[in-house]
């Protein structure tokens, strides 16, 4: 019972970090309809900015966390401007964007390999990881609870942004039809920049927590593959779906690791992906796609 509660908290905590990543990925997908594989790069960028600003500014997590999320957001906008904007202005074929994003993810990963080297780095102990007693039910790490709370705060903020602000309205409109919302007077280029900024911002928040959990290295971005899986399980392009899929995935992963074997956790993840696609191709909360002829 103790282990079960503990693994559930661990799973929710891991799932909530996946959710931060998956939501940004899903947001970009819902506007531009392509899988942005360079999303993992934003995680790594956030992690490294946080690592170096912590070293430079004397272990102030608030300041360096802020620099990291803003920096990753701006770099995400820059990536869009350099690599995707020229393509999407010329053609409507999203396959080209997909390949460019694969190239971008290789570029970002290897910029870090070349400049700071491939070794594993641990963030200084700015986020508490000491064990805490969870209402007498289980002993869990403060870090797990903290990442769960942070993720909920940021996801709630995103929800507020999307429902209460003018730009949020524009983004929701554009996720139905980018062209038409452009015709209605939305500045499409600025909207896409904002979407990429939000995606990079949330990915960096996830990146900071992931680099505390798994240490920091250039290939850390590979973990986004789990967030992609979560987004597909929940339904591509649906934000509540991305959150739900991420939580399911985090729980499945941690429960497998805790009760069966930690080697099998990745097989379970990909098995769940295949099972979902067979059973409900458009995901748990995805829009039922009907083809327009």
């Amino acid at each position: 019972m103790d282990t079960l509660v503990q693994q559930i908290i661990n799973g929710l905590s891991l799932g909530s970090v996946y959710a931060l990543i998956a939501v940004g990925y899903s947001l970009v997908y819902s506007i531009l309809l392509f899988s942005n594989f360079s999303h993992g790069g934003f995680i790594v960028i956030g992690g490294y900015i946080c690592y170096y600003t912590l070293a430079a500014m004397g272990n102030n997590i608030w300041l360096s966390g802020f620099t990291a999320v803003m920096g990753a957001g701006l770099i995400a906008v820059l990536v869009e401007f350099l690599a995707y904007k020229p393509i999407r202005e010329r053609t409507s074929i999203t396959l080209y964007l997909l390949i460019a994003s694969m190239g971008m993810s290789i570029v970002i990963e290897n910029i870090f390999v070349v400049t700071v080297g491939g070794r594993f780095r641990a963030l200084p102990p700015v986020i508490p990881t000491n064990p805490v007693n969870f209402f007498g039910l289980a002993t869990t790490s403060a870090f797990d609870l903290l990442s769960l709370v942070t993720a909920i705060v940021f996801l709630a903020a995103l929800q507020l942004f999307l429902t209460k602000t003018k730009w949020g309205l524009a983004i929701r409109a554009a996720s139905y039809d980018l062209r038409t919302s452009g015709l209605m007077g939305v500045n499409v280029n600025r909207l896409i920049s904002i979407v990429f900024f939000v995606a990079g911002f949330l990915a960096a928040v996830g990146g900071i927590f992931l680099s505390v959990r798994y240490t920091l290295f250039p290939q850390l971005g590979g973990i986004t593959i789990k967030a992609f899986v979560a987004a597909v399980i929940g339904g591509l392009g649906s934000l509540p779906g991305a959150v739900l899929g991420s939580l399911i995935l985090g729980l499945a992963e941690m429960l497998t690791a805790g009760f069966i074997s930690s080697q099998l956790r990745d097989i379970v993840v990909f098995g769940m992906l295949i099972a979902t696609l067979l059973w409900r191709p458009s995901g748990l909360l995805g829009k039922q796609i009907s083809e327009k002829v």
Partner: protein
């Protein structure tokens, strides 16, 4: 010929076979896959296990590797190819990774993550070249046959194709199975060339490379894919002295190609005397202007 040059040529032939397979799927049928390294892994491991564990001659083992990869891709294709667009692309990442993880956790049968050493070095230059020539010629015939036209119809407008009576889902699965066969054979030959295989050799990076080669060369052009294989294999060899920058340069080239010339080196054309001649005449420009988008 020095052993190094011979090795590069063998590698080109092996990568070329895999590229032909992916080109049929992505270039001619319009299905985007990010998991084809998994089928190469199936081919490689089948050959390794059959030759080493059961002492079977390499030739049936290579063919069996291709056939098993084909069977697996067929079984996977039947349910998943009902999905259109990015769903299959992401499903294929999951499938590729699942195949790799199963091999890694296969215990004594696949020898896990440490890899499978001591495979017979059967992929010599004549064998790799022979396989490559036969499979390339077959692929050129396939693309020009009724089947090839049906694949292209599924790519260009699958609704129209199904209204004309083609069972588009079945053609898509066929295309996947054939490309699985090509990748399986390429993986088997790779095992015979390197004499040592490891699950990590067939990770998502390898799958990315397979797709990159095809897009780089030109979607819908077999000779373009082969040209793309040649360029990218040679680029990785040329930059071997500055190996830490190699992947960086590779990624930058990929992005620049997509930004500057998204249709790839060859576009949809084949490298034929007629195409080369048309490059120098005015007809080429007018033909290009009327051709329009690739409609993928």
């Amino acid at each position: 010929m020095s052993g190094y040059v011979e090795g590069i040529i063998i590698l080109l032939c092996v990568n070329g076979i895999a590229a032909l397979g992916v080109c049929l799927l992505t270039g001619f049928t319009g299905i985007f896959s990010l998991g084809h390294a998994g089928y190469m892994a199936i081919g490689a491991y089948t050959t390794a296990i059959m030759t080493l564990r059961y002492g079977i001659h390499w030739l049936p083992a290579v063919l069996a590797g291709g056939l098993i990869a084909m069977t697996v891709s067929y079984l996977i294709g039947v349910p998943t190819l009902k999905l259109m667009g990015d769903y299959y692309a992401i499903a294929s990442i999951g499938l590729g990774e699942a195949i790799r993880l199963v091999l890694e956790n296969g215990g004594n049968f696949t020898r896990g993550a440490r890899g499978y050493p001591g495979i017979e070095n059967f992929t010599t230059l004549p064998i790799a070249g022979g396989f490559f020539l036969v499979m390339a010629v077959l692929m050129f015939f396939l693309v020009r046959s009724n089947f090839g036209r049906a694949f292209k119809a599924c790519r260009d407008d699958y609704i129209a194709a199904s209204l004309l009576g083609f069972n588009t889902a079945r053609y898509r699965v066929f295309s996947l199975a054939i490309s699985g066969f090509y990748c399986g054979v390429a993986g088997a030959l790779m095992a015979g060339f390197l004499t040592f295989i490891q699950p990590v050799m067939f990770d998502s990076g390898k799958s990315t490379e397979l797709v990159a080669v095809v897009v780089f060369g030109g979607l819908g052009s077999l000779s373009g894919s082969l040209l793309g294989t040649m360029v990218l294999t040679l680029v990785t060899e040329l930059f071997r002295p500055i190996s830490q920058y190699r992947m960086l340069i590779y990624g930058i080239i990929l992005v620049i190609i997509m930004v500057a010339r998204p249709e790839g080196i060859m576009g949809q054309h084949e490298l034929s005397p007629r195409y080369i001649k048309s490059l120098f005449s005015r007809k080429h420009r007018t033909a290009k202007a009327t051709e329009g988008g690739s409609g993928l």
